[in-house]
Symmetry: C2
Subunit: 534 residues, 2 copies
């Protein structure tokens, strides 16, 4: 059933035919899936057009790794949605729906989620410290936000929130984050292991840049995966070595599958450098069991792989039977320390209950590397000087929120619990709705912000997609968008077992909109199936 | 006198011996210049040490382009300064000075420069919009900052300052920036040409990533240069093609020199893709004359080179006889449009009179590329989702500050003029002081934030440096630091004509500290020269 294919970004970009081979193999579509970008469509032909003749730079002369890279969550379907939205601004009746419902990306505040008040109070005060000792400020801000702002300012040399910081981030903020990690894990954390970054994405890029020397270096990534990984491996010229999550066991991560893929890739001359694990999973929403994590740690230790742990959804767990355990905690609980396993944990202010995507805050905790390699990571960080200070402050707040007894504690925890319990209800409602659709099965939404239902499409629909030069899941998503305004991302953007079709749907639309989404989706699906039923 | 050498990052990293050849050629030092990092010191030997044996990742197995990259402004001398500072925290009398004076980096607020009040008011209000319609807010914030915050919020879909934006940045903010560029240049600017970024550095990386395919692709860079360029070319595996600025004519940029270097590199099989021009200059502080800029534009047009214009110091011009002209304005005034020249202009909120380094805001204006290549730039931007929203807002404020008649206009312009005139005085004082030192000559500080004086070192000092395994300018800077606490960056970090020695000094220490700096520097220099005079 499964095919195990290794896609070398660099080798497979030589011609557009090979490019589609890559897509067909890694992203598991027997169909070329189109992009609205002329670039991705016909890289070799466009240079002969008159518009590019005039420019010194053409698609034929840019870095082929850039052309190779794809990023589905802001890809073709989103471009189309934006176009429809623009049309509706001039002609409100142009389409059979009142608004576009963006379920394509984990961007909670764009869909109406409100920021946590305490966090925003502190950020505002740090942005304009001149008001901190004004009497009006007492009336506008909570006492503990004022106190926290003073604490943070005192941690910043010269109280200069407008200065470049240490390239790993302000030391006092890293102290707070390390203390938060310790409280979470029950094991020590070193502020010197923290690298604050503009969201988690630049941190992932930094590690790929460090580890990838050529297309002979491979990174084990889950399939389905978050496309940041395939994009960043492509940009850095490495090889994505896929391992398949087992949909039948709730997107289970089996170490036997990791071993098989490692051996297959080694037999092809690939040096596997690292294993990416996304927990809770994106786009799949599963939460790993601790025993499973122990086996993964053991595997990385035995095979000498760096464990790249994407833990940005650590606060997003919706089922009582599952709990988030950091890979650092799991490895330390096994007795493994600095010398035993190289582990990088990524965290972000964009997810959790905070959802502060636009602030671009995040960090990576880097353990198990020698001082010499750490120096190199520091050097790469220093070339971009530092991450933005507001994002740094927010990362410290997220890892050190108000405590029992603080003035803001009650309102803070009410806001937090309100968001998380609503997300859990939305996840369950959507999961149930998907499972009621003909030919659709959806695993339990244990965590993260997504559902990744599987859809068995009628043969006629697959033929219609082929005629429209679309992958079948992309065809379904485009028809859904055109009929309802709902934006899902086709599974082919994340990778899937060949011959299976999925889509990713976020659980983020406001709760009161969920019933209408379910109705519109259900109606569309029924008519789609009626149209194509054999 | 001059040597014209092309350094291929990838080829020259094979061994440490070759690495030092690269440094000797491009960075023009006949001496190996040391780094405190064990990595840069002995990449081949460290893997045999016991500490790295335990780790799966060693210097031998990471990306050699990372090892190759150097970033002097946060390099060895700064690490040493930080060490001294730490020592002084426990032992205040450990060194013969009371504080470390960081003149190594353009980081104004770290040295006490205050942020522009209006900018910070708007940022704070956008961070915590809940206070916008509270009565206390009227007492704390200016009326036009409240109005501007409302305007900006209305430009953000859903007023969600915590949401990911369009990957080029929020459209309304790009409109403001485009209007600011039009007002500056007198030629139209298109908001769709603007890509907002976390400071200028990621924008430079993005263009290098786009243009560099292999070590056969060259980028023409000034020598001396800002080390972001050498670092980013090294990280992307390209070749830095140096052109020398003429110190004798005030760091003049001669097109004949560009042509010579272009031909030399072509004869070696290098495809030159782009020309980097930094105007006003870093580290050299010169401001290009308009006629000179026209010749540069003509050269790029004729040779089909992308013009990468680092214009982050566009507000930092200190002499009445010089004026900043953007390369976009110059090329449009020559009648050259979209089809004639590919031009990228970089701007940042970190410089100018605002100096908001920690906010990580900036943009690039991308013109003269075909739609297909633009799609690729957009795709790369989208992989990191978007730049931070506070930085985006600040970039719009910097390009659209208060106007005559606005409530804040007078205080805003007083703050701005106060900073700029003080910087001009500091530049002149330091320039005069350098020119009074034996063996030191310093070009006029026309703009930017730096002076790059030349120092003729006695033969005995060069010998002493050699014995200490330092480049002579690094040796001078280390001795200066140890004696006075003043941090300069040796010229070898920027590149210089072989056999000449320089250092870079920012003009940023607070004005009242400048006399003491001059005295300490003068005393040190006299005793240094006395020690080594032949």
């Amino acid at each position: 059933m499964r095919r195990f294919v290794i896609g070398s970004a660099r080798n497979l970009i030589e011609s557009s035919r090979q490019k589609y081979q890559f897509e067909r193999s890694i992203l598991s579509s027997p169909y070329r899936f189109l992009s609205s970008s002329p670039a991705a469509d016909s890289p070799s032909s466009s240079s002969s057009s008159s518009s590019t003749m005039a420019h010194p730079v053409s698609l034929n002369t840019i870095n082929p790794k850039v052309i190779e890279c794809e990023y589905a969550v802001r890809g073709e379907i989103v471009t189309l949605a934006q176009k429809l939205q623009e049309e509706m601004q001039t002609k409100p009746d142009a389409h059979p729906f009142e608004e576009i419902l963006y379920c394509n990306i984990g961007n909670p505040q764009s869909l109406g989620q409100q920021p946590i008040t305490f966090f925003r109070e502190v950020l505002a005060l740090c942005d304009h410290p001149a008001i901190l000792d004004k009497s009006e400020t007492q009336g506008l801000f909570s006492a503990d936000s004022i106190e926290r702002a003073w604490q943070i300012l005192d941690q910043i040399p010269g109280r200069a929130t407008g200065a470049y910081s240490h390239s790993q981030g302000i030391k006092g903020l890293r102290d707070t984050i390390a203390a938060g990690i310790e409280a979470r894990d029950g094991f020590p954390a070193d502020p010197n292991d923290i690298f604050l970054t503009d969201g988690a994405s630049p941190a992932v890029h930094m590690m790929m840049q460090l580890l990838i020397r050529s297309e002979k270096d491979g990174i084990l990534c889950p399939i389905p995966q978050y496309p940041l990984y395939s994009a960043s491996i492509a940009l850095h010229g490495g090889t994505l070595v896929p391992y398949y999550l087992d949909e039948a066991t709730g997107w289970g991560l089996e170490v036997s599958e990791l071993k098989k893929q490692l051996e297959t890739s080694r037999s092809k001359g690939i040096t596997v450098r690292a294993l990416v694990v996304i927990n809770p999973g994106n786009p799949t929403g599963q939460v790993l069991a601790e025993e499973n994590q122990k086996a993964i740690v053991e595997f990385c230790k035995q095979e000498g792989l760096v464990l790249l742990a994407d833990e940005v959804y650590q606060e997003n767990v919706y089922v009582p039977e599952k709990k988030f355990h950091s890979f650092k905690k799991v490895s330390r609980s096994m007795g493994y320390g600095e010398k035993d396993i190289a582990l990088v944990s990524f965290q972000s202010v964009s997810k959790g209950y905070y959802g502060e995507c636009g602030k671009r805050g995040g960090y990576m905790e880097v353990t198990g590397f020698g001082a010499d390699v750490r120096e190199q990571i520091y050097k790469v960080a220093s070339v971009n000087l530092c991450s933005n200070i507001s994002g740094q402050i927010l990362a410290s707040l997220v890892m050190g929120p108000p405590k029992v007894g603080d003035e803001s504690y009650e309102s803070y925890s009410a806001e937090r619990d309100g968001i998380l319990s609503s997300l859990a209800r939305r996840a369950k409602t959507l999961e149930d709705a998907f499972n009621k659709l003909e030919g659709v099965t959806c695993n339990k939404a244990e965590g993260a912000m997504y559902l990744f239902p599987r859809i068995d499409l009628p043969e006629k629909a697959i033929k219609a997609a082929e005629a429209a030069k679309k992958a079948p899941d992309a065809y379904y998503c485009q028809r859904l968008l055109a009929a309802t305004g709902i934006v899902f991302v086709p599974g082919s953007g994340f990778g899937q077992v060949p011959g299976t079709w999925h889509f990713r749907c976020t659980i983020l639309p406001q709760e009161e909109k969920i019933p209408a989404i379910v109705t519109r989706l259900t109606d569309f699906h029924k008519s789609f199936m009626d149209e194509f039923r054999g």
